[in-house]
Amino acid sequence: MLCWNPIEEVFVVSQRISPRKENHYILSYATPNLTHIGSLLNIPSLGDYYDEDSQSLFFIEGEGNHKYVSFLDLKGISARLGCPDNPAVLDGECMVYVPEDLESDEYSLRYYKDTLIVKKRFHFQSDKFTR
C-alpha cells in the first residue's frame, strides 16, 4: 500500500508488473464495496512518498538520466473520478527533474510545504534481506 487517505476514503496500492515497473491503483471505500476508480500505469519502481498535509502522492518517473518527480493530487479525487465502471487511467504531474548526478536505482522522497528532498536510498550490501 502506498497511501491511505481517510478524508477521500481512498487507498493507493501498487502491483509489481515487471522487475522494475509497477501499476498504482486507486481504490475507493466510499462505496459499500472496495471500488477501483483509477490507475497510474507503468510507473518505475524508483521510490514514492505520500504527504498527508497536501494529500499528494509523489513518485519518480522517467529513465536513465531523464528522471523526474511527479505527483498525484488526491484532494477531491473521489468527486473528480466518481465510481465509474471503467477506472480512469491517470497521469502524474511533473514537478521537478532529478539532477543527472543523482543516478540511483532507488530514491527516498520527502515533501514539506513546497520543499522537496530527493535522496539516494541506501543499499545494504552486507545484509541479505531487509524487513
Binding site: L27, P99, R110, Y112, I117, V118, K120, F122, R131
Partner: protein
C-alpha cells in the same frame, strides 16, 4: 618476551565504512524554477545512515532514526523550516543494531511524544520529542504475559506494529491476531485485548488516523477499518479487492 606472530589468515584489516559516502541528495526549495540545492556536506557526515524518518507538520520537525554503528542508534531532530538543520540529537545503546532488526518510530508533535520500538531490547519507549528524554518504557514480554500471548513472544517481537491514540492516551498494538490497547500511564488499566481477528489472514500493519478516529489494519489479502470512540471499537469493515 617476544610478541606472538599470528598467521596471515588471522590478520584483520579494518576498512573504512563507505556507507555514508553513498548518501547523496538534493533539496528543492523553489519548485517553480526546479533548481536543486545539493544537500550540505556536514549533514551527511554528522548523522549516520538514516533508516527511518517521520515528519510532523504541526511542529515543523522531522525525527530521523540513524544507525551510528553496530551498537549505537541515533535520534535526530531536524527543523523543516530551516532547510532541515539538525537541532537535537541523542544516542541509545543496543545489544544488536542489525539493519534487519524490526524498529518502529512514531512521532506525535502535538503531544510531544516519540514512540520507539526496537527488536533487540523488545521495549516500547515513549520519549519527549523535544528533549528526547525517555519518559516511560513498556516491556513487550510483560504485555504479552498480561494478554496471554507469552507462547508466541519470539514471533511477536519481530512482527509487532503499533500506533498511538491521543484521545485515549494509549498505544494500540497489533500482536499477531490480537489488537491490544496499552495505556501510556502504567498506573492506569492493564493492557487489554480490544479485538481478536478471526480467520487465516495475517495482518502486519496498524495505522491510526486521529482526524477520522479510524484504525486501519493491513493484511496480505484484505484490510480492516475499525472506528474508535471513547469506549472502544464502534464499527468494523473488512475490505477486499478483486484486483
Amino acid at each position: 618476551m617476544q610478541p606472538s606472530e599470528f598467521r596471515t589468515e588471522f590478520h584483520i584489516t579494518p576498512q573504512v565504512n563507505n556507507e555514508r559516502a553513498k548518501c547523496d541528495g538534493f533539496i528543492f526549495t523553489n519548485l517553480k524554477d526546479g533548481k536543486p540545492i545539493r544537500m550540505s556536506y556536514h549533514i551527511r557526515n554528522t548523522v549516520g545512515m538514516i533508516i527511518n524518518a517521520v515528519p510532523d507538520p504541526d511542529t515543523h520537525l522531522l525525527v530521523a532514526l540513524s544507525r551510528e554503528g553496530g551498537n549505537v542508534l541515533g535520534f535526530n531532530i531536524f527543523s523543516m523550516t530551516y532547510q532541515f538543520r539538525l537541532v537535537k540529537r541523542a544516542f541509545t545503546q543496543l545489544q544488536c543494531n542489525s539493519i534487519n532488526s524490526r524498529h518502529i518510530l512514531r512521532f506525535y508533535g502535538k503531544k510531544q511524544k516519540l514512540i520507539y520500538y526496537h527488536e533487540s531490547h523488545a521495549n516500547i519507549e515513549i520519549r519527549n520529542s523535544f528533549s528526547l528524554k525517555r519518559l516511560s518504557s513498556f516491556g513487550l514480554t510483560e504485555i504479552c504475559k498480561e494478554v496471554g500471548l507469552s507462547a508466541t513472544f519470539s514471533d511477536l517481537r519481530i512482527s509487532i506494529d503499533l500506533d498511538y491514540i491521543p484521545h485515549l492516551s494509549s498505544m494500540i498494538l497489533l500482536l499477531g491476531s490480537k489488537i491490544v490497547l496499552v495505556s501510556e500511564k502504567k498506573t492506569n488499566q492493564k493492557p487489554s485485548v480490544i479485538f481478536s481477528i478471526k480467520g487465516d489472514e495475517a495482518y502486519h500493519s496498524i495505522t491510526y488516523k486521529e482526524k477520522r478516529k479510524v484504525l486501519l489494519v493491513e493484511g496480505m489479502f484484505s484490510m480492516m477499518l475499525l472506528g474508535l470512540d471513547n469506549m472502544g471499537i464502534s464499527q468494523l469493515r473488512i475490505l477486499k479487492s478483486n484486483l
